[in-house]
Amino acid sequence: MSIRALSPYFFILPAVAIMVAGLVYPVLQAFYLSLYDWKIGTKFEDAPFVGIRHFIRMVSDENVHESVWVTLRFGFWTITIEMFLGVALALLLEKPIRGASLFRTIFILPLMISPVVVGLIWRYLFDARIGWINYYLGKVGIEPQVWLGNADLAFFAIVFTDIWQWTPFIFIIVIAGLQALPSEILEASKIDGANWWQHILFVKLPMIRSILLIALLLRLIDVFRALEVMYILTGGGPGRATELLSLHIYNRAFETQQLGYASAISVLLILIVFALSFGILVAGNPLKEKSDI
């Protein structure tokens, strides 16, 4: 082989080596650790091999069930509302206007700031004693609530926070998609006498459906990856009311100190996330196509 034929491998080697060591190896390690009953503070060599016992335990573990259920409910409410609001706002406000870039700059701020900071801000706003939300609800005659201390209200709080943070993302993606549509087709449908609703339902939305699908999948994956905002906002409580699967794994590993069992739940999480990612690959991986991007 000539030097020139080998050079692609030289160029990809460092990145691939780091990704294998830092992402692929830990994933395999999670599979491996899930077979052992390893506790924090003990040596791994002393951890007993338990085979697939963790997985059997997981199948009937109500805490895991509850956490999966919380994650699915959280995903359902946040994504439904974010998609609906984001798409509706984008359709209403898609027309290019002067100053749009300033508004877009503002809209991406919640995505740029640290999740820790997002969690802190909303923990303050939802605070039962000095929180601003209770104060203004009091103004309209609603009793102060212990937002983060009641299961349903705490769940509402994490959904609300997520909607604040992520609706702008959907909004911006959909606007970009709408503005990239070829104007001839839009004109043609108008000439054909489609009214505003028909125009949106039968022309615009179908044309951006691949964008909507990818946005949906990305958000769904994020729901399974999310833990930092909830870690700060509620810590997963009260009880397990806001303990998303990622946070459950973290708490299992480092609060109840069951590293092996937490790894078994990690395996479940990996399978879910990879299944969803596979959906994105099918929907279109831009790295694969050589031609245009």
């Binding site: 780091i18 994933v27 203004y136 870690y231 794994i249 690959l281 790295l287």
Partner: protein, 279 residues
């Protein structure tokens, strides 16, 4: 459309009004943080919110900067952020270049797995990373954090840079190759200068993730190697939260991402939408 129904001028006013309301909803919580950081304890603890008109104090900032290890945390965050960004751009750029410009056995595999590993949840990394650190005795080392941030950021950076390489005409490289340039010379002399904006966008995304990340940092750092987000969470204690101080700290953490956003919003949005809109 709506414009025709209501009349052009009113529609434009409605348009701006709606955007303004949405912008306020977005900004209000951030303003709550910034303003609370400048309030004294009495104001912070009082039930009635004060939005704008109060006598600002620098007491919280003075406290967090002089007590505790703020300077150490800040330095750690800068080091980890800068180094992981540097390595991500260097190696990610190499990899994206090879994927965009050459055909080689395994190319599709690398491309697909890159997208797949991009989605690995940080929670999944937590236990194995902890195990690696414990088993290899690497406790509290900033190098470990830098390594994991580089790994976490590489897939997205490769993806983004790939798109930028695709926009550069091949002819430029071909001319250089005919003149006898090696692949590395082509990369550094011909392409690098043309890739400035690509590196800027990828760099912003990478630095932001490293700067903001919390859960791995919490796990892999000790008293001397904490980063700013971990330091901030230290103000949450069993007896309560020191709101004034923690909001001041939050404001400081937000400054770099805020600056990036205002100077490069267009590029950031292009990066965010690239995957969905053009995929």
């Amino acid at each position: 459309m709506i414009g025709q129904a209501i009349g052009g001028r009113q529609a434009v006013i409605m348009h701006y009004a709606s955007l303004a309301v949405l912008a306020l909803i977005t900004l209000m919580p951030i303003w709550v943080m910034v303003s609370t950081g400048f309030k004294n304890d009495v104001l912070v603890q009082q039930k009635e919110p004060v939005w704008f008109f109060f006598v600002p104090t620098l007491g919280n900032y003075e406290y967090i900067m002089t007590r505790g290890n703020f300077d150490v945390y800040l330095w750690n965050s800068i080091i980890v952020g800068t180094l992981s960004t540097f390595f991500t751009l260097l190696f990610g750029g190499f990899c994206a270049y090879a994927l965009a410009r050459t055909e080689f056995r395994g190319r599709v595999l690398v491309a697909n797995s890159t997208l797949l590993v991009r989605m690995v949840p940080p929670a999944v990394l937590a236990v194995p990373a902890f195990a690696m650190v414990v088993n290899f005795g690497l406790n509290n080392d900033l190098a470990v954090l830098t390594f994991f941030y580089t790994a976490l950021n590489l897939p997205f950076a490769i993806w983004l840079l790939f798109g930028f390489f695709k926009q550069i005409p091949v002819e430029l490289e071909e001319a250089a190759i005919i003149d006898g340039a090696t692949p590395l010379q082509v990369y550094f002399r011909v392409l690098l200068p043309l890739m400035k904006s690509g590196y800027a966008v990828a760099g912003i995304f990478t630095f932001r993730i490293a700067w903001n990340e919390f859960i791995l940092a919490l796990l892999l750092t000790g008293r001397k190697t904490r980063t700013l987000p971990v330091g901030a969470s230290g103000f949450i204690t069993d007896t309560g939260v020191e709101w004034g101080r923690i909001m001041a700290m939050g404001t400081l953490i937000v400054i770099p991402p805020l600056i990036f956003t205002f100077f490069a919003a267009r590029q950031i949005i292009a990066g965010m939408t690239a995957g969905a809109v053009k995929g």
